[in-house]
């Protein structure tokens, strides 16, 4: 992207400014748009268990079950290779939304990083190897809000 250099400079400047001004400003700096292609969380994506993926993705954050997010996915997916999933929430100040497929070889499927201009409403199509719980986690107010749903898969999407 042609604006990368520019936005990187701006972020760095704001971040340094925030360091000087104290912790209140650091909260602002971390909610700024992230740099393009700054961080693919390899540890979390390569984790082989749901717990491992969650703790690598969101270390130390408390998880609460919540009805404030709407996870939309089919109850039965005929083709596990293409399972449409969407997550919506009215929770304030959403920093990120992550999707996990509990029984996939690598449970973490995707993380969406949101900024204050975003509306917390995302959709994606996922692969599911077998019938499994699908877990959506919304990071808001320093906590993780979780919703889950079982998706029955008749033809798996990971095999060859």
């Amino acid at each position: 992207m042609t604006v990368d250099g520019q936005s990187m400079k701006m972020n760095r400047r704001r971040f340094l400014g925030a360091l000087l001004k104290g912790s209140a400003c650091i909260a602002v700096a971390t909610s700024l748009p992230r740099l393009a292609f700054a961080a693919w969380n390899e540890k979390a994506f390569k984790a082989e268990t749901l717990e491992g993926a969650l703790s690598n993705k969101y270390p130390g954050l408390e998880i609460v079950d919540s009805t404030a997010l709407k996870l939309k996915a089919p109850a039965i997916a005929e083709n596990g290779a293409v399972v449409p999933v969407s997550v919506k929430t009215d929770l304030p100040d959403v920093k990120s939304i992550s999707l996990f497929v509990e029984k996939n070889p690598s449970p973490l499927a995707a993380t969406f990083h949101l900024t204050p201009v975003n509306v917390a409403d995302v959709s994606i199509r996922l692969r599911m190897g077998e019938t499994s719980n699908l877990i959506a986690v919304v990071e808001s107010g320093g906590k993780l809000h979780r919703a889950q749903q079982e998706v029955k898969v008749t033809i798996g999407g990971c095999g060859g």
């Binding site: 604006v3 393009a36 961080a39 499927a109 900024t115 994606i124 692969r127 990971c158 060859g160």
Partner: protein, 99 residues
Amino acid sequence: MKIKAKVKKDVTKVKMLIKHAMETGRRKDQDGNVIPGLYITEVSASHNGQPVFHAEVGQAVSKDPYIAFSFKGGVAGDKIAITWIDSSGATETGEAAIK
């Protein structure tokens, strides 16, 4: 890649369809050899040059990924640019105007 962006009551919904094999690295070819993994790892979007969205994705995303997100403040005619990078470092950028 195909990008559609539509504004309705101050909320712009952006939908993208990216052409990519998204090889998981777990599939085998006819001779039983493992096909090496090659999948998109990150997708970023900007609105008139300002970043508005960033996603990290893994092997569990379907072939030819479809992703949608929404943001506030877009106006018809504004430029949306989307860039992805895959595990081999290949990238592609696509652009569309908000309708």
